[in-house]
Symmetry: C2
Subunit: 166 residues, 2 copies
């Protein structure tokens, strides 16, 4: 096991994303309950399942570095969730609300893409092969989820939302 | 001009990212002052210049919808900057600090990628051709900046940071 200073950064980022994923377990169901598009509900339901898997994957990553999983509050994710909550507060179910949900969800996905991307790079640098593979898997899931949401916005949501008069 | 409800979402997102970009004008110089790698300093200096251009591009986008530029506090960016500030607080100049700067900067880039991506999609849906082009330009810059930071981490920073003993 390499006891380098980079390991400290790696651990800090792991604690940060574990906190974030656990918060999302609480937030995604709220988004699902506000969504109307069947495609969006399906995508968010898949995201919720993947979030649970990503949490157990993070526990495995902690094991590869012989460290007990723990969390640290992630100010960025707290801000992202606060922004999403505010945006969806007065949301009337329908395509505009769906467009807002997609916008909020994609910001969240991108936070995760950035963090899993950094974590995978750090794991590769430290030659933590198993950890790098696990993190790569979560990174790929996040990237696919983001692309799927763009597709849903284009195909099923934005045009309908544009036709709603202000 | 389409006065749709989607326009409200578009305007809200424009105000959000304008606030975020203006905050970054204050935060990036702090990152530059803590960086050691010449490549990282160059990349962040370019990012600072691009941020200024993106702000004037946002003013142009506001003009295309005949609306005066204004801002709304962006909780997510406030959280991202708070997280970066905390992370870099006790940063000792060197490769580990550079790795931390890159991690924080990439999270910020990804927030912008998500937001400019949403804005471009909304502009295209509403057939705001000029706005869509301007937003696409900023989106491309953000994606390139993100890739450049990954390259710098791989080539110049992470291996050096890994060799520092804890």
């Amino acid at each position: 096991m390499q006891a380098s200073k980079l390991m400290t950064l790696f651990e800090d980022q792991l604690k940060d994303i574990l906190w974030a994923e656990k918060e999302l377990i609480k937030s995604i169901p709220k988004m699902i309950s506000l969504a109307s598009s069947v495609e969006l509900i399906e995508a968010l339901t898949t995201t919720l399942e993947q979030t649970k898997e990503q949490i157990s994957r993070l526990a495995q990553v902690f094991r590869t570095i012989e460290t007990k999983p723990s969390t640290v509050k992630c100010d960025a994710m707290a801000g992202l969730i606060a922004e999403a909550t505010e945006m969806l507060e007065d949301c009337e179910k329908g395509p505009l609300c769906d467009a807002s949900i997609i916008s909020a969800a994609q910001k969240i996905e991108h936070y995760e893409i950035a963090t899993y991307g950094t974590l995978r790079e750090l794991a590769e640098t430290m030659e933590l092969i198993d950890a790098a593979k696990l993190l790569e898997k979560s990174l790929k899931e996040e990237k696919s989820a983001d692309k799927m949401l763009t597709g849903i916005a284009r195909e099923f949501v934005n045009l309908d939302a544009a036709s709603l008069k202000a």
